[in-house]
Structure formats: C-alpha cells, structure tokens
C-alpha cells in the first residue's frame, strides 16, 4: 500500500494527492476548497460534513452524525482519515455557495440606505485626498539657477500650490533627474499628506502631466469576507467594487479559532499570507473591472497608478494582516498589541502594489471594538452629528456605539454568531439556499419560504432567522420566553432530539439530506444574541445618564443590516422601538469608512481624536449589564413599557404570546 492517496472532491472534481493519514479537512484545504469548520477543525461543531462517495476512509463518526447518515457515507471531514483513494462530495451547506455575498431579499420594511454623496464632503470642506498629484512646470536649470533637482521641485510645489514641508523618498530621488529631463522639466509629483502633524512626503514623480489619473483603494478585511473598492481620487467615485471570502476561513470561522491557529508554529505567517492572498485576488478583480470615468483618462487603471490604500478590519484581522501576535486578544485581560497603527508600505505586507504605495490601517478601540467599527463611526458621519445616535454593527459578533459629535461610548456584545447562522442547528450564511424570508398562513399555519437564489432550502441565515422567530411569535406559535406553545395546531411542531422543534422544510423539499428545523435551543441562542445587543445598548445609554427614549437615530451597519426587517427586529426586541425613518442603513460601515478616508485626509486626522475620546466599556465588568441582559431575554422584553407599539399590536391579536 502506497503512503499517498488521491482524493477527488465533488462537485468540481478537483483532485489532490495527500499523505495517507491526513484528514479530509486538510485534504480539502490543500485542494483550495472551503469546508465549513466553525470550530477550526477540532471536531466540535459538526459543520464540516462531507459525503464519501467512493473508496474507504477511517473515522468521521461522531454524535453529530447519525448511524443512518454514516451508512450513506456522511462523515465529519475533520475527523476522517484518508486511508486510500477517495471521491468525496462537499454538500452545499458545508461548502461556500457563490453569490451569497450580494444576494438579498426585497419587499420588507428595510432601513433606508444611506447613500454617500461626495458633495457633502466638498461642502463641508472635507474633500482632500491623502494622496494627491500635482503638475509642475519647472524653470530649467541654468548657471544662474543651479539649485538641486529636489530643491527645484519643492520650491515649485510651494510657489504653485502652497504646499510646504516636504521630504522626498529615496526612490523618488533616484528617478528624479531623468524624470525632470524627459519632458523638459514638466513633471507630476505624487504627494502623500501626513495624517496629522509631520511632513508631506513626495512618493512618486513622473514626466509630463498625469494629474487626471490618481487612484486609491479602500478595503474591509472581515473575518468572513474581504471587500474592496477602487476609487478615483479626483472625483471620489468608485470605479470598481469586489469581494471574496477570506481565505483564512478554512482555518475556522471566528476570530478565536484564527488566533488559536496563529499561535501554532508558522501559524501567524500562514494566516498573514492567506488574508493577503485574498486581498491580492480582490485587487486583481478590481483592476480588471475598473474603467476611469474621465474622457482624458485613457486605458484601464494600472497597478502602478495606485498609491494609497485604507484598510478597515476588526482588531484580530488587523493583527493577522500586519503579522502582529494576536494571542493576548483571546486571553484576559484581552490586550491588543496596538490600537493605533503607523502608515505602512503596502508592499511590505505582501500586497501587490508599487513600492511607494502607502497602506493606512484604521485604528481600533480595543481587542473587541476594532478598526471596522471606528471606520463605521467615521464613514457614517456619526462622529459629526448632533443627534444622539445608536450605531450597531452586527457581524460574527455585534458592536455598538452610542453618542454624537460631543461624546462616544462603545462596547462589544458577546452576541454569539447566531445572526450569521452560528449555533443554530440548520443555520448558515446568506448563501444560495438560505431561508431568508418566511411567512405563515394565519389559517393553516403553513409556512411560505423564500431562499437566496430561489434554490431548494438548505438552512437558515441570520435575517431569515429574525423574520422566522418574529412571525412565529406574532402568530402565537412561540411564547415570550421563546418556547413553542405545545397546543399549537401544526403538524410541523414535534419533539426532536434537542427538544421541541418546528419543521421549516421536509427532507423531500429541502436541498440537503434532512428535514430543516428550528428548535427551542436555536430560539434560546437567538434570544441570547438579541438580548446581548439590546441590553448592551441600554446599559451604555444609561451609564451616561440617558434612556433609550432619548435616541434620535439608529445607524445599522454590517452585511446583516441590509436585510434586517425593521418590524421583525423591533417585534423581537433586537432594536428599540423607534420610528422607521430614524433608522439608517449604511451597509458595510467598515468599507464606507475606508472609502471616506481615501477621500478625506481631514477624516484621517479626525479619527485620532475620535478614537481618543471614545470610551470603551467592558460590559461584563459593568454591574448593571447582567440585570439588563436577563431582563432582555424575553420577546420582546420583560418590560413591555419599552415596546408600547409591539404590546398594543400583539394584544389585539388572537393567540399572541401576550
């Protein structure tokens, strides 16, 4: 018997040769294929289910897989050892569907999307790209004026544009004599402004006039996904947008599993390479698609024309991207290496950009309130508004910020991954086949499902879960404690392995291998998640001596936010009862903030002061929080005075939970 074996993965048929004894999860990683492994491959989560269709493998049986399932080849990939040649199918719910990043559901009461207008920036005097190009027509060198080339350039920048205090990078000095003389002392210099005090930095020089071509990048480096924008820095317009799953995903779905992996020998290096690989892939896509808008801008955007990049990421992702040791982030007292980060050479990180391109990572507040949240606060304009605002970003966890231009407080809520389908029996991300909308026939109590991509249902995504629970609650199928009313007359209600459950889709209707259900444990997890967010917000607002009624504005951010049904969110007590027109959706707050930073050096400067005055609360250390949290673990809340409209509506309905 050879000590190597061939493993072919379906669908797609990609084949890899691996050492006998490797796990199927490792083989899939080697093949570049994604298998869900929320727990990082430790065997706990049971999500890495695959089907061995041909050949033999050892192990893979566990409490997560029934005997019947095992007989038809279902295995946990992380616990299955390759013993010979295999053909393995990765089921849809374990792999990554395509298009899940952009697919949505229409027709519900969504938050108004905040569309950013560059004119706002201009009107507020904020439009000032941190990297700008200047065209100079220099006097020729003569014996009466034989200043050094660099002095000639610097003086002209001062006289023609009022720019002062320059330092010239060595590579620019190396190019300068030829650049000056190639087009008769007519040159374009690329100037990077200091974030705060400091010198302007001449980072590039080109013969001729190239001021019409000045491009920048904004990236949101998420735990799950990486999104990028290619921006025309003259107009502020987005020329291309794109995204991809963070290649680190194969090593765990949450930041904790990534940190654990990074602690292994060369683990940090691998995590760094993976996320940079994803950035480069997204970047390639942006360059392939970008079309400069101006008439005089001929040809596609060249990589060499990009001189600026703003990165927004949570604290762990920032650490992994920069190669900073993240181990203290997951250990009490949860200390990051640094919250402020210096501007970096993008090329030093492995990002495929010219040597002079500068990358500026957004500063963070703490280990669990990261640069992505700060970017959202900056990009949404929250830091400049007079209105008392609640900012919520619901991702793998949830972060909340409360305040206005005078003051800001923030906290991370340990909501758990329920809103991303984590901890939910048939939870999944908003990929094809995810149940994203749900309604009940009031007469028959039979459900109507809508799925992402209109595919046979595979599981429940976060926005679907919210609607589902709100509907079941409104129709009196579950009570305010989140328990199924046993007396509900539905054949779909039954007692399962994890207590009472509701069958959303029978196996024959589903795209998977089993019935798709929602059980009481799932509801408990959901309630804990929504309670953590609401209690967090209420605790923060009361810590500063105000009440939830004082809120004048709610800003929703995060991929979840775009699909958040506002009525459902208020019905279950996730959001406070506030008029829908006061709720604004900003989409990807991190990406928005990174984009704004690419267009406004004022925002880059302001962020330092904003971060300094942003008070971070560790909710577990605030005595009032536990009480708030307990009180919030009801639908919508133990104190119905907080939700008068919900109370009134439900009270008027037969069979309501009240």
């Amino acid at each position: 018997m050879s000590d190597k074996a061939k493993v072919t993965f379906l669908p797609g048929g990609r084949t890899v040769t691996v050492a006998v004894g490797e796990s199927l999860l490792a083989a899939a990683r080697q093949a570049g294929l994604h298998v869900n492994a929320s727990c990082g491959g430790s065997g706990v989560c049971g999500k890495c289910r695959v089907i061995v269709e041909e050949g033999e493998a050892r192990g893979g049986q566990s409490e997560k897989i029934s005997a019947a399932e095992y007989r038809v080849g279902q295995r946990q990939a992380c616990r299955t050892v390759v013993t010979g040649d295999l053909v393995v199918r990765i089921p849809l719910e374990s792999g990554l569907g395509q298009g899940g990043l952009t697919t949505g559901v229409a027709g519900r009461n969504r938050a108004r999307m905040h569309v950013y207008a560059i004119d706002d920036l201009r009107q507020n005097g904020l439009f000032l790209p941190p990297v700008e190009k200047f065209f100079l027509e220099l006097p020729r060198a003569t014996s009466a004026d034989n200043r050094a080339d660099a002095a000639r350039v610097i003086t002209a920048l001062n006289h023609q544009y009022g720019e002062r205090r320059m330092v010239v990078a060595l590579p620019v000095l190396r190019k300068m004599p030829a650049a000056l003389r190639a087009d008769d002392f007519r040159v374009t210099v690329t100037l990077a402004r200091p974030v705060r005090r400091g010198k302007n930095f001449i980072m590039d020089i080109q013969p001729g006039n190239w001021t019409h071509r000045n491009f920048g990048l904004a990236f949101d480096i998420g735990t799950t996904s990486v999104y990028g924008l290619l921006i025309d820095l003259n107009s502020g317009k987005v020329l291309a947008r794109g995204g991809d799953y963070n290649a680190q995903l194969s090593y765990g779905e949450d930041v904790i599993s990534r940190i654990i992996y990074a602690e292994k020998p060369r683990g940090l290096e691998l995590m760094q390479e993976l996320v940079v690989g994803t950035i480069n892939k997204v970047l390639d896509g942006l360059l392939a698609r970008a079309h400069p808008p101006e008439e005089e801008a001929k040809g596609a955007v060249q990589r060499a024309e990009i001189a600026s990049l703003t990165l927004a990421a949570n604290t762990t992702m920032t650490h992994l991207l920069l190669g900073l040791d993240p181990r203290q982030i997951r250990r009490a007292p949860y200390v990051p290496v640094s919250t402020f980060l210096p501007p970096l050479r993008a090329a030093d990180l492995g990002i495929n950009l010219p040597q002079h391109a500068v990358a500026l990572p957004y500063p963070a507040i703490s280990s669990y309130v990261g640069g992505d949240i700060v970017a959202g606060v900056m990009g949404s304009g929250m830091y400049r508004t007079a209105k008392l605002t609640l900012y919520i970003d619901i991702g793998t966890n949830a972060e909340i910020v409360i305040g206005n231009r005078e003051w800001l407080v923030c906290a991370a809520c340990s909501a758990g991954p329920a809103f991303e389908g984590g901890g939910i029996t048939h939870g999944m991300r908003a990929a094809a086949g995810a149940i994203s909308d749900f309604s009940l026939d009031p007469a028959t109590l039979e459900p109507t499902l809508q799925t992402v991509g209109n595919r046979p249902p595979l599981g429940i995504c976060g926005s679907g879960l919210l609607i589902l629970i709100a509907a079941l609650f409104e129709h009196g199928m579950i009570d305010h404690r989140g328990k199924f009313r046993r007396q509900s007359a539905s054949p779909r209600l039954r007692e399962g392995g994890s207590g009472w459950e509701y069958v959303l889709a029978w196996r024959r209707e589903s795209g998977g291998e089993h019935d798709i259900v929602l059980n009481e444990v799932d509801i408990e997890n959901f309630i804990r998640a929504k309670a953590a967010i609401y209690a967090g917000a209420k605790t923060l607002v009361e810590e500063v001596g105000l009440s939830m009624d004082d809120l004048e504005q709610v800003i929703l951010a995060g991929a979840f936010g775009s699909y958040l049904d506002l009525d459902a969110a208020i019905t279950v007590g996730l959001l406070p009862e506030i008029a829908a027109e006061k709720i604004i959706y900003v989409g990807n707050g991190a990406l928005l903030g990174a984009w704004m930073s690419e267009m406004s050096n004022h925002i880059r400067r302001d962020v330092v002061a904003v971060v300094r005055r942003m008070t971070s609360f560790e909710l577990s250390e605030v005595p009032a929080f536990q009480e708030q949290y307990t009180a919030s673990q009801f639908l919508p809340h133990t104190d119905l005075n907080l939700f008068p409209d919900v109370r009134a509506r439900l009270a008027g309905r037969a069979g309501s939970g009240l």
Copy 2:
C-alpha cells in the same frame, strides 16, 4: 590558442584568469588589486604603469613611456591587452602602499590640533544623541487597565521621561508582546528623535534593561578613503576607529572619473556596491576592535546594537552611495539631485546593519561643496563661533568657508589635485616612500629628504611638495614666478624633457626605476593650486565687504591639513599671514562632524538652518576672482603688502627670490 589567459600580479602573486583581449587594468581590478588610474583608464594620465616580467602582451606603448622603459617591460596597464599568460609587477608608485593613511612627519610648525571635548557639548546643552535607549518598568496588564501594549509603552515614555509624540515601527509592534512579557513588563526601548519637527520613532524594543549599551557610527566617505568611528552614545566616546581605501579607486581617482563610470550601463550600481563594500569592511574592523568602556557593559559591541549612523561625504560620493544619478554634477550648470537627504534605512543601502538602523547623510550646499564640508563646519564649531573664521579643507580639491555664527559663505576651489600628488611628475599620495620633508644645506645646496616610512624615495606627496617649493624659494633656487634661477650652482639643476628640473633623488637612491625630479611644470601646477585657494578666500572675504586682515581664525581640515607646515604655507602664499596660534587643525572635518551629529540631535537640527543660510559662490562666475587668481600666481603673491613678514624675512636673505 586558448581564449583565456592567466595573469599573475607581483608582489603578492595573486593570479586571475581573464579573457584574451582584456586590458591589464581590467585584469588587476578583477584580481582586486589597485592600479592608479587617475583618468579612469582612458590612457591619458600615464599613472597605471606596470612591468610585464614574463609572457607577452600587446600594446601599452605611449608617449608616457620611453622606448628604453618599454624595452624593460614597462607598460600602461589600461592600454595593454592580454594575449597569453603573463607575470606582471605593479610598482610601488602605481599601487597603494599600506599605512599611508596614518603616517605623518613630526618636528615642523604644525597647526594646533583641535581636540573635541564632550564636556563642551554637555556644557552647551548640546549632548542629546539622536538615538537613545529608555528603560521602562510598566504596570502589568489587568482587567482594569487593559490598554494595548503599544499604548502602555508610549504612556510610560511620557510619564517617566517626558517623551511625547511617538510612532512605533511595524517590526517593533511585531516583537512587542513577547518583549513585554519576557521580563515581567520591564523593557528597553530605542527611540530615534526626529531631525526637526515630527514624531519620535520607536525603532527597537528589548526585554530587560539595556540602556548601558547604545552605539552609533560616524563615517566619512571620501573619494580616496573611507573612515569610520564606532561611538558609545552614552558617553560620546570613540570605541574604535578605522579606515580603508574606497574600493571605487580602481575606477578613477577623482569624482569626475567616477561619474563617467557611473554613467555606463550598471555603472552606478557597481559604484554603489563598491563603496558600500568598503563601508562594510571598515565596519567589520570597528566591530572587531570595539571594547565598551563601562564596567556593566559586558562583551564586545554587537552589530545588532547599532541603531544609528551619520554619513558625511562630498556630493558625488553621497550620490554614488545612495544610488542617485550623478551625471548632472559634471555638466553645466552642475546640478545635484538633492542637497538635503532623508534619513534612510542603512540596510536599504546594503550596509550590514540591523533593519532598524537609520543612516542620516549630511546635507550638501552644491555639487562641489558637499556634506563633508558642511560636517566640518558643524563639527569644528565654526557655525557657533563669533570669530570671523576661514575654514579650508584641502582634499582632491579644496573647499573654503568664511564666516561665523551670523553668516557663512563658501566656494569650491578648482585647485586641482596637486596637493595630493596629482599633476606632479613624480607626485604621489602620502604613502610609504613619499618625500614628506625636505631641507637644503645653505652651503652646498644639497638636499636632505625624509620619506614616509623611511623608505627609499618614490615620489613627492602634497605636504612634501609644499615644503620643497617653500625651501627652494627661500634659498633662492626658484624665483617668485616659480622659475628656476638658471645661475643656481647645483649639479641637481638640469634641463629635462619638461623644461628645467631639480633632481631630488638620483635613480640609484630612489625606490623606483628613475630619477625623482621636480620640474617647472610641477611648480606651475602647485602655484596654480595654492593661488586658487588663496584667491578663492580673498574673493569671498571681499565679496562680503571685509579683508583678509579681518580674519580672526583659520581652521584647517583634511588629511593634508595635519601635515601642513604653517611657515611653508605662508611663505608660498597658500595661507594668509596670520599668527600660528590662530590656526587650528581639526583633522578629518567630515568625520568630526559626523561624530558630533551622532551625539547631538541639536547639531542635526541646526544643520538645516546652517545649510539654508550658507551662500555658495561659483567663483568662475565672480568677476573679481579671475583677477585675484592671476595676482596670486606668484610666490607668495604679487602684492607683497599682504605678506609683510615673508617680505621682511626674504629681503634679509642673500639670493632670495625678491
């Protein structure tokens, strides 16, 4: 016949295999041996004379080599083509003697050596190394104080030492969590101060207390030689000093030949590598010899402990070291790429130092008044004195600065290389065998010679030439026009191929292959050189409305300066007639300035203002200069009122030139 041939060089016997058709000069370079080639190998200077002892070579005959010399194997190496295996001797006067860098002559009226005292810097509040180490005992991270590691370090630097406005380098952030926890939050940080405004830069972090070990380097990168100092930045003391010939020497002796070479394909790259190679060699020697002085400083200085380097060099050498295109330096209107240079990563230049080590090159004034002169002005304290001072640095060319703490003017004097033995029939550098002192028996007019290393005479070095001409002039052998008095009764006076000449050593007494002579062309070259310097100084001083009589101090710098006989220098009219106690010798001004910069960030800051207020004169553009120059081409000068003491002394002597 093979297309390869072996060439063995004597003395030493180094053998290289070269392609048939290569020149002997190229073969010697390949062997790593130095053959003088002032003209860069163009066949003009005739200094690359070698002797083919065995085998045959083609060519090498020229007007520089007589038929008799050719018959005994003498060839010009640059014009000789290898046709088969050869044994070639490099004569002493063509090669580089050892020890020439430090050998001197004692017993004459020398300038007082200015010995730098660190206490001066301390007393003047100037002692502030640009790189300093700070020991921090940090509070441990707790849940009540879970600031980021970087914030903890920055706050402590502020609270314990008052240091503010920090930026932390990415590599330091990468080391920080481990460094903090290796010795219970006791760390040493290395901080680089900004040259002027800007942020302090945390460039290194180590667990424990290492403040007692903080080292820096000062380098003078000369056209001929590279000198280095290894400095204890806590005490300011020099722990080791060393030097070597600039490896670029094989490609020409002056900056012009180096520039010409740098213009060839890959020529700049080669020039850069060669000088960095020399720096690294000198650095290795410094590290091998350095012994930390303090008791607690155990063990030799490690390369990794060096974080700071100041470089002083003329403008061309700075360009070649930094890889800046120097071609405009030798073309009207003589424009350097830049006079101000940013702090650089030493490792980026190829200097064998840790990644974080910062190199700061001294700024220049113009293409021909370089950072070496600025360093001399800073290091000698000239920029801080109230006295009207003349600063002269005599190297391959001469640069002069006049002024005080209020104002400074400067100029490069096209003196030519006479003071380094260039343009003199038997001129040579102050290497072993160079005639460095000379006296005449008043009765017999027979000479007594002294040579460097007491070796048989090989030629005349600059300081010897000065003494020789002053002595011949004082004894009336040459007149004030520099012509031999034909009536002088010496058998050593004869008419040679270049007019009248004086035989210093007959062939049988010499270490070479011929009589060693001084002819009228040599004297003319010398007079032009000394006239250029004196006329330059006089022009400058008069341009600012003063006269030579107003000078209160003369500072001499340069290797030549140390051996300069003051009486002889005044006798021939090189220096103005000034009391010997007002003449100060500072040795290698460039190295002194680099050393001072390593100890005083104030000096680094001041240099920017000094350079800005230093007015550079292009003497060839000043109408008065030509007149001054013509008037100075006599011994000592046409206007004897400028040299009353010399006039009086000579007038009292029989046979004087007056």
